[in-house]
């Protein structure tokens, strides 16, 4: 379908707005990181510790330096560290200078802790760190979202159609319960129940890293039997997290899909279609499914896009080294470049998904063309 000029203008305007939003969010994050002085405090502690270690190293018995030389070296070392961490500049220069770099992901992990959580070492580019963490989050959370979508997209409208039935009531109760209990608490409970009490699942999920890399290594070297055993280990380490996230997410999705469908099911034109004597199949296909497809597609796509940011708390509870844990460790270690890179990537993916949806609306829905 060719786009007329007006539609193009609408799309361009939305694209521009979303870009500005992304930029504002980045600046806002940088300002909050800088103005609260949170990274300064953490970085000063880090530098203090390194300087202390350096001084101890120099003061070992048999060191060839005089106390004056030693003091000078320590001072130079401290200054060098200050400039490495950017503490010799005021916070707005330090954090704002990161923003142009983050747009092309030209940033590096500045803390060993952050690299360590991924099982890697510095020097490590922010993009590489994300490239390592992302597949693990996709394995746990995005996969769970896909499972939820597969179940909820057909089932939600179905129960809306069967409103008031036992199935409908139980689904609503289930949605209310999963809405009420935080996912991370269900995660804690599952570690307690399946990991410690029943012993049918791991109690710490960190080893998943080794199994995933073993799997990809043996797949690349065409060692299929090795890949199969590695896959079995990956499954053993991932089935509980996947099930927990699916269990927690599914309720909300069922409820949303049902809510979207209920509004349509009770519309006058659906009743009119039935009154015209159209078969129930035709009514469902042409008058209900066609209308609810758009909104349902919207929340499925936005949900999938949002999922790549990971579940920060749940991943921490499982000790699952994906995007969420990377996020958390970066923040708590005061690794501002990495924090900014993560905010950038996750927000970018989400906003791009929104943009794509809005373009689709403009193309598919004639009413949007203002």
């Amino acid at each position: 379908m060719p786009l007329d000029r007006r539609s193009l203008r609408v799309i361009a305007f939305r694209g521009l707005t979303l870009t500005i939003i992304l930029f504002i969010i980045l600046v806002l994050t940088a300002v909050i990181m800088g103005a609260t002085g949170y990274d300064t405090v953490i970085l000063n502690a880090v530098i203090h510790e390194q300087v202390r270690a350096f001084r101890e190293e120099l003061s070992k018995p048999g060191s060839p330096y005089t106390p004056e030389e030693r003091e000078k070296m320590v001072r130079e070392y401290r200054e060098q560290l200050l400039s490495v961490y950017g503490l010799d500049k005021p916070w707005y220069l330090r954090t704002m200078s990161l923003i142009p770099k983050v747009l092309v992901l030209d940033l590096h992990v500045t803390h060993d802790e952050v690299a360590g959580v991924l099982g890697l070492r510095r020097p490590l580019g922010a993009g590489d760190a994300i490239a390592v963490a992302l597949p693990r989050t996709i394995l746990m959370i995005t996969l769970a979202y896909v499972l939820s979508a597969i179940i909820a997209v057909p089932l939600g409208p179905y129960i809306a159609y069967k409103r008031g039935s036992v199935l409908d009531k139980s689904v609503i109760t289930y949605a209310a319960i999963t809405n009420a209990f935080p996912v991370w608490w269900i995660a804690m409970l599952s570690v307690f129940l399946f990991g410690f009490y029943l012993g049918i699942a791991p109690s710490s999920y960190r080893p998943i890293v080794a199994h995933i890399s073993r799997f990809s290594d043996s797949l690349l070297s065409l060692n299929f039997s090795g890949a199969l055993t590695a896959l079995r280990d990956v499954l053993y380490f991932s089935y509980i997290p996947i099930l927990v996230v699916t269990f927690a997410v599914l309720g909300g999705w069922l409820y949303s899909a049902r809510a979207v469908a209920i509004r349509v099911v009770s519309e006058d034109y659906v009743m009119a279609a039935r009154a015209k004597g159209l078969s129930e199949g035709t009514v469902v296909r042409k008058y209900i499914i066609r209308v609810i497809a758009g909104p349902i597609l919207t929340f499925v796509i936005l949900g999938l896009a949002g999922s790549i940011g990971g579940f920060i708390i749940t991943e921490t509870v499982f000790d699952w080294p994906g995007m969420g844990l990377l996020y958390y460790v970066s923040i708590s270690a005061g690794d501002s470049p990495m924090v900014l890179a993560l905010v950038y990537v996750t927000t970018l993916v989400y906003l791009v998904a929104r943009f794509i949806l809005e373009v689709l609306y403009v193309i598919l829905d004639p009413r949007v063309k203002l």
């Binding site: 405090v41 009420a180 708390i313 996020y327």
Partner: protein, 518 residues
């Protein structure tokens, strides 16, 4: 005009009446009933919490290695699991004890008259105790196949000002008569009365006697690692293993006061110018309603504190969020133009801001600055409010837009009604049902977010449900064997939240007729 005035009622009564009507309607729904019952429970528990817990409870909870927590058993299960047939020893507290015997002892043989178990345990070779001697005895029935954790003696000294406490020395001897007839000297301490200490089972006091008595082949060092198992058990295989020894235990406490003339001490006790309150605690593996954590903190008290905090924070944050959203949404929808544009772009930004990372960031900042307690909590809640009103504003704006073009609004405008009158009399009242539903839905949000932040290790210093779960997560190695640590706070969070979800669903059904069942 005057007759209209007369009809006009007190607005408070109108509100109360409509609230009663709403309540009646909520009760007709199952979900609504469940929500109301849980909410009522939460309110009752909050009142109970506010009236029973001391004002300095948060700081008490924070200093985990100080009284009262050190007087409790550690990692103790809830007491009621005993009634489920689980073998777990009880914790018995014997307070306000009176000495069973007291006399002045000057020759060692005399101790046998008031405490024959002393002679049985140690013979009469030792010189202790002499002076003014008191004997306390309590019985503890270890009625299940389990060990006990410890025996504690807590002293409290009260004296009139003319008594010089530093001159009076208290010599404490703790003896334990076991079901098998063996009497062990399990504790021995001496200190002046102005520096009283907690007395506990001391492996050094009995290890030699124990090894001798049972002819064990283990070393003193090996005894040390599991002393309470030795005290409340029978050695097997030369002391490599132990079997539990249930039955009647008797704790004998011999207090000998020395340092000054014993007759003077007797006189002080007699006239009441010196009083020593003795409390003996036999710590079992169960305690209280919800057990204790790894440092002996009473989890029931901790959980109890969470009730008013959850309700207050939930309501305040939800109210602030919804009010801001309502006001800005209506302004945006009603006035339109540039104001609308600015507010809409603001909404665009805040609904896309990753809130949790931002909260963590601010939380870490607060923590590194060493802020704790209510100010820290207030900052976090402020951030939640600032970044959460967007959704409400979007909906109220579109509702205000459609109401604005209704004929009665046009009519009001035509007869010269002021903007504020139109907004407050015609638009906002129509939005109240919707905002009520959103308000109810968003009550749990703040406390769930707080709990999540706590679990991540951001410590605001208040004992909330999230904080208790956070402690469990921080001690995950042991906490994951303690269901009574993980389950109650999480269940309460869930029930709390479920109550409002259920009420929200119900309100939504009431205010949105299309959702009603046919």
């Amino acid at each position: 005009m005057s007759s209209r005035r007369a009809v006009k009622e007190n607005p408070l009564i109108v509100i109360l009446r409509s609230a009663r009507g709403l309540l009646r309607e909520i009760i007709t729904y199952n979900m609504g009933r469940v929500g109301l019952v849980i909410l009522a429970f939460m309110i009752v528990m909050s009142i109970y919490s506010l009236t029973t817990l001391p004002g300095d409870f948060p700081s008490k909870w924070r200093y985990a290695t100080e009284p009262p927590w050190i007087y409790n058993p550690k990692m103790a299960k809830p007491e009621w699991v005993r009634y489920l047939g689980i073998d777990v020893s009880k914790t018995s507290i014997y307070s306000n004890l009176r000495p069973q015997d007291s006399r002045i002892i000057l020759i060692p043989e005399d101790i046998g008259r008031i405490a024959p178990e002393y002679v049985k345990a140690m013979g009469i070779k030792k010189l202790l105790p002499f002076g003014y001697v008191e004997v306390y005895r309590v019985n503890y029935n270890l009625d299940v196949n389990d060990y006990a954790q410890d025996v504690l003696v807590i002293f409290e000294v009260k004296a009139s000002e003319n008594v010089n406490l530093s001159r009076i020395k208290m010599n404490v001897l703790m003896l334990l008569t076991r079901p098998d007839g063996l009497v062990l000297e399990v504790g021995e301490e001496s200190f002046p009365l102005d520096k009283i200490r907690l007395v506990k089972i001391d492996h050094g006091a009995f290890s030699l006697q124990y090894i001798d008595y049972f002819n064990l082949t283990i070393t003193l060092e090996e005894m040390k690692s599991a002393y309470y198992i030795a005290v409340f058990g029978e050695p097997r295989a030369g002391g490599r293993e132990f079997a539990r020894l249930p039955g009647e235990y008797q704790v004998t406490l011999i207090l000998a006061y020395t340092g000054i003339d014993p007759r003077e001490i007797a006189k002080m006790f007699g006239e009441g110018s010196l009083r020593v309150n003795v409390e003996i605690r036999v710590l079992g593996n169960s305690y209280g309603l919800l057990g204790t954590d790894n440092v002996g903190r009473d989890l029931f008290q901790g959980v109890l504190f969470g009730f008013p905090v959850a309700l207050a924070i939930g309501f305040l944050v939800a109210l602030a969020t919804v009010m801001i959203g309502l006001v800005l949404g209506v302004i945006s929808g009603y006035f339109g133009g540039r104001v609308d544009e600015v507010i809409q772009r603001l909404v665009d930004v805040i609904v896309n801001v990753p809130l949790l990372p931002l909260l963590i960031l601010v939380g870490v900042a607060i923590q590194t600055r060493g802020w704790a307690g209510w100010p820290a909590m207030a900052i976090l809640m402020f951030i939640i409010v600032v970044f959460s009103w967007g959704g409400v504003a979007i909906v109220t704006r579109s509702m205000a837009l459609s109401i604005k073009s209704e004929q009665y609004v046009e009519a009001a405008k035509a007869i010269g009604a002021s903007t504020s009158r139109i907004v407050f009399r015609h638009i906002i009242p129509q939005l109240i049902p919707y905002t009520m539903a959103v308000l109810v839905f968003s009550v749990p949000g703040a406390i769930i977010a707080e709990a999540g932040l706590s679990v991540l290790g951001i410590d605001h210093g208040l004992p909330t449900w999230g904080r208790i779960l956070a402690d469990a997560q921080a001690n995950r190695g042991i906490a994951y064997n303690m269901w009574w640590w993980i389950l109650p706070p999480g269940l309460l969070l869930g029930f709390f939240s479920f109550a409002f979800v259920a009420l929200g669903f119900t309100l939504e059904t009431i205010v949105e007729p299309r959702l009603r069942r046919r």
